[in-house]
Assembly symmetry: C2
Homo-oligomer: 611 residues x 2
Amino acid sequence: MAESQEILLQKIKEQGDLVRKLKAAKEANEKGKKTDSIGSVKAVKEYDLREIDRHLSQYSYICGYMPSNCDIEIYKNIGTKVDFEKYKYFKRWWYHMRSFSDSEIKLFPKNSLPSIMYKENNKLLDDQIQEEVKKLLALKSQLVTEDAVPQKFTLKTPKGTRDYNPQQMAIRNDVLQKIIAVFKKHGAECIDTPVFELKDVLTGKYGEDSKLIYDLKDQGGEILSLRYDLTVPLARYLAMSKITMLKRYHIAKVYRRDNPAMTRGRYREFYQCDFDIAGQYDLMVPDAECLKVVTEILNFLDIGKYVLKVNHRRLLDGMFEACGVPADKFRTTCSSVDKLDKSPWEEVRTEMINEKGVMPEAADRIGKYVIMNGGVELAEKLLKDEKLSNSKAAIEGLEGIILLLKYCELFGIKDKILFDLSLARGLDYYTGVIYEAVLTEPIKIGNEEQTVGSIAGGGRYDNLVGMFDSKNKQVPCVGVSIGVERIFSVLEAKLAAGEMRVRTNEVDVYVASAQKNFLEERMKICTELWDAGIKTEHSYKKNPKMLTQLQHCEDNCIPLAVVLGESELKRGMVKIRNIVSRQEEEVPREKLVDEVNARLALLNTKGINGV
Amino acid sequence: MAESQEILLQKIKEQGDLVRKLKAAKEANEKGKKTDSIGSVKAVKEYDLREIDRHLSQYSYICGYMPSNCDIEIYKNIGTKVDFEKYKYFKRWWYHMRSFSDSEIKLFPKNSLPSIMYKENNKLLDDQIQEEVKKLLALKSQLVTEDAVPQKFTLKTPKGTRDYNPQQMAIRNDVLQKIIAVFKKHGAECIDTPVFELKDVLTGKYGEDSKLIYDLKDQGGEILSLRYDLTVPLARYLAMSKITMLKRYHIAKVYRRDNPAMTRGRYREFYQCDFDIAGQYDLMVPDAECLKVVTEILNFLDIGKYVLKVNHRRLLDGMFEACGVPADKFRTTCSSVDKLDKSPWEEVRTEMINEKGVMPEAADRIGKYVIMNGGVELAEKLLKDEKLSNSKAAIEGLEGIILLLKYCELFGIKDKILFDLSLARGLDYYTGVIYEAVLTEPIKIGNEEQTVGSIAGGGRYDNLVGMFDSKNKQVPCVGVSIGVERIFSVLEAKLAAGEMRVRTNEVDVYVASAQKNFLEERMKICTELWDAGIKTEHSYKKNPKMLTQLQHCEDNCIPLAVVLGESELKRGMVKIRNIVSRQEEEVPREKLVDEVNARLALLNTKGINGV
């Protein structure tokens, strides 16, 4: 937008503010309210300052969401005479006002508003309102007569976010539908929660990652943050609604101010697909079903070979205990172990010793365990391990793993599961089994290979709901989260490499005409087809070219066209064209719906209805 | 959370920050980077100041998202010696730092970090890290030993928002699926955009309502706001992607800091369902299809009788012109007319005269037009109207309406359309046809009647996309938005009144057992059914009671149960129970999948498969 236009818009905005404030002043006058408690700044009294401070404890600015005339007037007049240390909020306001640069301050309007606002006489206010409204309209009329001039700022989506175009949406919807189908097959219900939560709800749940939370601006009222995951909102929901049993899925976007790596599907706004089972049940029964759900989803999506690693937080604790790590260092040692998927053991060992204060001998003992992985035989061997068998926690963890692996065998997914002592998972809130699905082979896209790695993860968290309950009442939970963004990015890369094709609409019939002046006839035919529930399109141009219309059908994989011609219509006939085979058949116009339905049924059976 | 606990957490956080910064300093040392360009504040040089200013142009604070030790150290040392007018961003940072209150500053850590950070010797840093890590662990261990104390804040969703429980989600998904089906029937593609936009994108689009926009906190980086509707993001998307033709739907939540009236479906977070057609097409052809889409949706949802009011912005302009309103008062007079759905004419007239500066005679002339409504005959009568026929704009508007009504007749929706001269629509950006769907009868729920009113609205906006294009290139658009929250609230009220029932899951088969120790057998059967694609559940308890299991089926409308018994299993048989009829039949275990499928097919045909 041109500079002059921007200034004009700014003036209009300010003039509009002025008019609104005058009206508000008038209204306040009429209601007999005193508006001058905040405004009469020329004679500063102790009372006024306290009043301003009180007002500012609830609002960032005096008159609205951004510095208003009133703010500016007070700011200009209050000077430095005030002992701001006495007024905490006033002080904050004052410094915020001071933070505007000279060039910004020059844009502040000149009108001496407060002297107007406190006129007792409404008649004078009315005159003033009319006067200012006139100025506003004069400004607006300038805007109308100048043609809208484009804006200057860079046109982009916020960092780490993106739009989904129709092709990307088609992929996304297809993946999500498949995931939802599996969730529903296991009887999960669906819930949704607001995109933001009270900031307090998120506080203290994510450890070091809390710095990645998006906060909303304090615009007066509650302090809010965007959700960081779907697990904490679930726990808040269960505690708030006093629900002790729920099998739910939740598919929604979450927000993290992380460094985005968008080509690898790492965004600041991204989808999570969560499946969780809350309730007091028997050991490992719901836990094993979560694994079954993950295998069904990954099989259904068919994006490559994978392995489901499992471990147990209690076993990790027992292992640390057995290796001689003091209890107060379990969690922090655990977060070192969690780095084993990215760093070699030597680095992890150094971190343990230098940063976590683990003794070198203890670290070496840990090193012998975390290279182990296998099946039920490993768990049974470890149950007889000299050191581990002395730890109650280790035994509990190992017995849990053995039971889990047994149930996985019953579920027919034993070959996908790997008991892996190096799996630790970052989040603090896990209390039992933990799992992570990893693609074992890079995915070939064109001539390139894309390493995807971790694609789902989860575990048991029995203490999170209790953190929200006033009586600390616990609801045990176990769940899993599917990392769909990585799946989207693989499929989008395949699309870009020409290895797959998607339909972005589902239109079955296009109503076309070869001759001019058939718009109304097309509309009638469309109406008949729409009213019969048939997905139909036509051109929005009066006299489109035949070639353009048929090209549209080919581009969009529309299988059938109804072609209108004058001579056929006179005989009460229309043509149905198969776009792929280019065959045309005449059918009676009055039987069009039946004829179209018959052909669509046939195409669907044959499976050549588009992609 | 207890006060002491809060302080402890604060300390842990600060100590953690310190440790992280020490590690970062060490890493920077190792990479040979000079970290002292920002930090060596004790000898301030011109170069340093410029460097800090450059750094702050990209980040709000020097070391992170909140004032860090480094910020504080610089703040304490830099004093007022600096000529801040030379450093715009540095100045802003400085005043932001000053805005912290005394009590907040007291909480700032005492460690003189910078003097540490620039130690050349990594060994010293290592010692320091170990020292600080110890302190951190000591603090954390205090936290672990105290039992988790429940938090004190009120457990609620943010003002004007709500959770959707499974029943509400079932309703919501059902309504949205029906709406999407209609959108798809008309060939619409789907897009999605981020939940937030650069604040600049939203600025200047919503007039007075801009104050209702949710802003995100400035945490360094871009200044963001939550989307206010789906129309402006669409325009931004079209301009940014240089798309000149698109028929798209977009269903997503939008955010307005309005005063919520939640019982009537007015929230701060709410769904919009938008259908828009962008592109240069022939007059009224896409416009009429939008109306067709609305009628199909409202018929499909079947929530009551409705009327679709239409009018034309050009006709309104021409009418104001003909009545003697000056051109610069058209928009503001229009916004008075917009209030006619809620206020009587007398009030609107007074506003026009007193606030908008319309002459009383002109207002009276307007009053004679805005009571008019009807069909094509009214438009044709007005075309011959003495005053209107002199206005080019009025003729253009009326001819548009006549064409629109003709197309609506071809679409078979003439009886739903009402040409209404009082319809004005609030938003500034409309340039042509405008429409609004209104339920004409209150909805009966139990013994109460709920007035719903406006349920969809839209119009043509030909200039919005150009506002985002650097060359001001226009993409004409027309669209409609379905007010689904009001539909949800009606249906939820019906649900609460017991007038409807919804299924919150789709489970077809429940695997139950009458005797103990059948968990593993149930799991095997479940696996067979799941792997055959049958929606199946069982109890997560080892030995659930038969009555509880059957009750679960009845509560959740699950039609079939597979009942396992020892004696049957020995004979290779299982029982299938119809939950409604309570009939049981024995079938061979090995044929279970086929037998279940056969029964489900029968139930689906008969239409008694749940609700």
